[in-house]
């Protein structure tokens, strides 16, 4: 097979693995793939109850919408990396007995999450823009920002999946880290409103790689404004660095996969 044919063939493999992922996850359950939508919606309901009704943060306009936009982004990222981490081990039978690009396995997991994410984000965006009247040309930036988010998440997922295949502590560490990570991300608060200290503010804004993605997506959907240039630059650079870094690590470590899983 030529290089081009191989690429076409593996795209089809990727498609098949996505189908398999969709089918196996919720096999035999009455609601099936709808769980992909229900889970995040329930989570969003719970967070709204907590931060929107119990600990009322009234300083932010249309707080539920503010919360939802950030939460959707976070749920995509965290669910993707959490389900990608053990994916190579879960498909061990395949990895041990067949030769194909291993990168397709975590890639399929993240792509399935992306589809759900886009559906929910579309719902949230329509409601938010309708209520707040934030339809603006800046919305055109949403597609490239989402592409960057996907690249960033995919790169991160590749790294954690290959690391977990060799070091089985990676998935537990990741799931432990995601909760504090959630609380320092600007999802239910605005960074400006919780600290006056510049050092902390910079740390929250730039030290957390997912924060600029949340800020940028929220700017275009909830705010109806252009994201700051430095935020956009950060998003683009983080996406490229994480995607290529994750792929590089995966390629370096994947040779022994059939032996370790």
């Amino acid at each position: 097979m030529s290089r081009h044919n191989r690429r076409v063939a593996y795209r089809y493999l990727f498609e098949q693995l996505i189908r398999r992922e969709l089918r196996q996850k919720y096999k035999g359950s009455a609601l099936g793939v709808l769980w992909y939508l229900i889970n995040p919606l329930v989570l969003m309901g719970a967070y709204y109850l907590m931060f929107g009704l119990i600990f009322k943060l009234d300083t932010i306009d249309d707080y539920p919408l503010f919360l939802m936009v950030g939460l959707v982004v976070w749920i995509f990222f965290s669910q993707s990396v959490l389900s990608a981490a053990p994916s190579l081990l879960e498909q061990g039978a395949l990895v041990r007995k067949a030769s194909f690009p291993r990168v397709a396995i975590p890639g399929a997991v993240v792509s399935v999450q992306l589809v759900t994410f886009l559906v929910i984000l579309a719902l949230v965006a329509i409601v938010t823009i309708a209520i707040r009247g934030t339809l603006d040309v800046s919305l055109l930036l949403l597609a490239p920002i989402l592409a960057c988010l996907y690249a960033f998440t995919l790169g991160f997922a590749l790294a954690v999946s290959i690391l977990h295949a060799y070091f089985r502590d990676v998935a537990p560490i990741l799931s432990a880290a995601l909760l504090p990570w959630f609380f320092v991300s600007p999802i239910f608060f605005q960074i400006d409103s919780i600290t006056r200290n510049d050092a902390y503010r910079h740390l929250l804004e730039w030290g957390n790689p997912i924060a600029p993605f949340i800020t940028a997506i929220r700017d275009v959907i909830y705010g109806g404004v252009m994201p700051e240039t430095d935020v956009l630059a950060y998003v683009a650079v983080a996406a490229v660095v994480m995607l290529f870094g994750g792929k590089w690590l995966f390629d370096r470590m994947q040779d022994e996969l059939a032996v370790v899983v």
């Binding site: 097979m1 191989r6 076409v8 063939a9 593996y10 089809y12 493999l13 498609e15 098949q16 693995l17 189908r19 398999r20 089918r23 196996q24 096999k27 035999g28 498909q91 039978a93 395949l94 041990r96 007995k97 067949a98 030769s99 194909f100 690009p101 295949a165 060799y166 070091f167 089985r168 502590d169 990676v170 560490i173 390629d251 370096r252 994947q254 040779d255 022994e256 059939a258 032996v259 370790v260 899983v261």
Partner: protein, 274 residues
């Protein structure tokens, strides 16, 4: 892509080359390393030493050859196939396997159990690098060969183990292979189906495919292969025509009538082709 050179670098389709190939496997119960081990020190003390599955193996198989690979359990036969199919890399040495390599190491590996037989044909074909159109062209032939009839649209979770293996074989048998690597999977289904599998393999060989067959079934090797490679302890101890190789193998195993078992001298294979 990967740092590893392409598996088909420097060989023609159907050609197989192993040069000074060595591969060891750790035999620890828990093969994954934990982070603690990495942080404290790289290796756990104690435990059995790594098993050397292949020790400095060199061989060359020309396109269209039919090679049986025999030896005791643990002699390195399956490891050789996993190396040739590119699933496991070598510790040192060179491996090259030309053209489209179809490895049948475990039939039905990667079947989605909730998928129907038909859907699994597409999934499995994709795993072998085929695209939708190529699989569609072969679909009817695969279904007919598997003799599954209406069961083809039932989930494979409902299949008997024989049906499962028949479907797995049928898919692999309809890929255009330059190299066929088959590991002990021909004991599929009933006798009639086995004969059909052998006939199918024979027709692929007639079409120019190279066959490497691992089996403990001496009669099968004698029927199918012209050349035999005997492995023992990760080394090639015989490599030559099947007519001489099988008696050698039987003596090695101590199963030849009236003959004492021989202990092969490592590094001095008596075969003529080395």
């Amino acid at each position: 892509m990967s740092r590893r050179p392409a598996l088909d670098a420097g060989v023609v389709p159907g050609e197989i080359v192993l040069e000074h190939a060595s591969r060891a496997f750790s035999v620890k119960a828990d093969r994954g390393r934990t982070l603690k081990e990495m942080l404290i020190g790289r290796k756990r003390a104690g435990g059995p030493a790594p098993v050397e599955a292949l020790k400095d193996v060199s061989l060359r198989i020309e396109p269209g050859e039919t090679v049986g690979m025999v030896g005791r359990n643990g002699a390195g036969k399956s490891s050789t196939l996993r190396v040739l199919s590119g699933i496991v890399p070598l510790n040192c040495g060179r491996v090259a396997c030309g053209g489209q390599v179809v490895a049948q190491l475990e039939l039905g590996a990667g079947f989605g159990r909730d998928f129907s037989g038909r859907e699994n044909i597409f999934l499995n074909g994709a795993l072998h690098g085929l695209v939708k159109e190529q699989i569609e062209q072969r679909l009817e032939a695969i279904i007919a060969f598997s003799e599954l009839g209406d069961f083809i649209d039932a989930p494979v979770a409902t299949y008997s183990s024989g049906m499962f293996l028949r479907l797995g074989f049928s898919i692999a048998a309809h890929l255009d292979a330059d190299v066929l690597l088959i590991d002990e999977v021909l004991a599929v289904g009933d006798e009639a189906f086995q004969r059909k599998c052998e006939a199918r393999i024979a027709s692929q060989i007639a079409a120019g495919a190279t066959l490497v067959l691992v089996s403990h079934d001496a009669a099968l090797i004698e029927r199918t292969c012209e050349r035999v490679i005997v492995l023992d302890g990760g080394r090639v101890v015989f490599d030559g025509p099947v007519g001489e190789g099988m008696p050698f193998y039987h003596r090695l195993m101590g199963t030849a009538e009236g003959a004492d078992a021989v202990t092969p001298v490592p590094g001095e294979p008596p075969g003529e082709r080395v």
